[in-house]
């Protein structure tokens, strides 16, 4: 079991090292998210209180920005066909999935750490008093998003129209994550207590467990030629 996690960490570490060098995914996702915030701030009717729709705006932005970065996750493996080298090695497919998932999770969480303050700045949102709850929602929702996103990124990486297919396949399946995450975020932003979003957190946790289990199991088949 220790070896399994060590191998998963080797995959995650390699992806994070490559990202730390190029910053390609982080910069493109963060830039995209900031631009969306700018567009929202210009397009929003001044009569509408941004605070009332901030949850939805935030999660739509995170979803699109995250999907943009996911497309590159397996592109790293396509250069020089490195994925074949990994798959021929004695690493369980589940460990490869876990490693890619952890790296994607870390990168998207880093992007979210930029997106939330930017939205706070543009729309006058106050996170004080809701920070703990928000962190919980963000982590739980991003885990589900990245579990499914990593699997679909692997599945579409070898198809001719992979980057177009990825959002078409992924976004409909992420609707439950968006519903529970956006409503929980919204309630926290308008000052509702953490106890009020307990149901949402439990649902997000359940979705995470189901997605992680199913995606780990399906990853091996997705890698078969």
């Amino acid at each position: 079991m220790l070896r399994y996690f060590a191998q998963a960490w080797a995959v995650a570490r390699k992806d994070l090292l490559l990202e730390a060098r190029s910053r390609e995914r982080f910069v493109s996702m963060a830039t995209f998210a900031v631009l969306v915030a700018v567009v929202f701030s210009l397009a929003l009717d001044p009569a509408v209180r941004a605070r009332d729709i901030a949850g939805a705006m935030l999660w739509v932005t995170v979803l699109f920005a995250g999907t943009l970065g996911l497309g590159r996750s397996f592109a790293l493996e396509r250069e020089a066909d490195a994925l074949t080298g990994v798959l021929v090695s004695p690493v369980p497919r589940g460990a490869v999935f876990l490693g890619k998932f952890l790296a994607n999770l870390a990168i998207v969480l880093a992007v979210e750490a930029v997106v939330f303050p930017v939205f706070a700045l543009f729309f006058g949102l106050r996170f004080a008093g809701a920070l703990g709850g928000l962190v919980l929602v963000v982590v739980l929702a991003t885990v589900g998003f990245m579990a499914l996103g990593t699997l679909f990124s692997a599945m579409t990486a070898h198809t001719r129209h992979g980057e177009t297919l990825l959002p078409i396949l992924l976004l409909p399946l992420l609707i439950p994550v968006v519903i529970f995450a956006a409503s929980a975020t919204q309630r926290l932003l308008v000052g509702r207590p953490l106890v009020e979003i307990g149901g949402n957190l439990r649902m997000l946790l359940a979705i995470d467990l189901v997605f992680l289990f199913l995606c780990t199991a399906a990853f091996g088949s997705a890698m078969e030629e």
Partner: protein, 238 residues
């Protein structure tokens, strides 16, 4: 009796209605060097990828040292190494980081020493910290060879390893491959380069249209005549 190092029984690969590999049967003993020749599109690389478990056969069985490559037990993967014309390296990582990554995947002890030794073996120790994208094609291929041999595999699969190499880099690669013929390691080489393939082989097979049309011992053939016959045989089979 020891199980063959590599064994293929009725191996076939179909992509929809199109056969890529058909009815491959052979057993290779420990220390043997098999070269598989064939024209482009003969299915040689597909066969090699099935032998090392990267592609699932449509029919048939592949065993490495007695272990079915489709079985649950994956210990056989530690026994094989694959070198292709693709390097399987990450251009954004340094030479040493690439090998360290693979050493972690193989759970090798003394990673640093092992990586340094592997780099020394292919003459790249002084380029350890350089990113792979800054290395020449020949250096990248030598690094790929170091990656292939890092875990000291018993069976080495080589898929057109000379592709894109200049004569100097080819000679260096051939010298390292010669060292693989240590009587202990089994090698399967896939190529369409007749002189390079014949030179090192103990056994020679020709694959055309997915099938083996010949399988001979190297000692039984006269290279000059064989090369002439090969061209005719391939033309006839095509």
């Amino acid at each position: 009796m020891d199980a063959p190092a590599v064994e293929a029984r009725g191996v076939e690969k179909w992509y929809g209605p199109m056969p890529a590999v058909r009815g491959i049967e052979f057993a290779l003993g420990g220390g043997e060097f098999l070269t598989i020749f064939g024209p482009n599109g003969a299915g040689k690389s597909t066969l090699l990828r099935m032998l090392c478990g990267a592609v699932r056969p449509t029919r048939g069985t592949v065993r490495i040292a007695g272990d079915d490559v489709r079985g649950e037990e994956e210990g056989w993967r530690r026994k094989i190494g694959l070198l292709s014309h693709q390097t399987f390296l990450y251009p954004g990582l340094s030479a040493a980081e690439n090998l360290d990554f693979y050493a972690r995947l193989y759970s090798l002890p003394d990673r640093k020493a092992r990586v340094a030794e592997a780099l020394r073996g292919v003459g790249l120790l002084d380029r350890a910290a350089d990113r792979v994208r800054t290395l020449s094609r020949g250096m990248q291929q030598r690094l790929a060879l170091a990656r292939t041999l890092l875990h000291d595999p018993e069976v080495v699969f080589l898929d057109e390893p000379y592709t894109g190499l200049d004569p100097h880099a080819s000679a260096m690669l051939r010298a390292v491959l010669d060292r693989l013929k240590d009587g202990r390691r089994t090698v399967v080489l896939v190529t369409h380069n007749l002189s390079q393939g014949l030179e090192q082989a103990d056994r020679v097979a020709v694959q055309v249209g997915g099938r083996w049309v010949s399988d001979e011992r190297r000692g039984q053939i006269d290279p000059a005549r064989w090369e002439r016959d090969y061209t005719e045989r391939v033309a006839a089979a095509v």
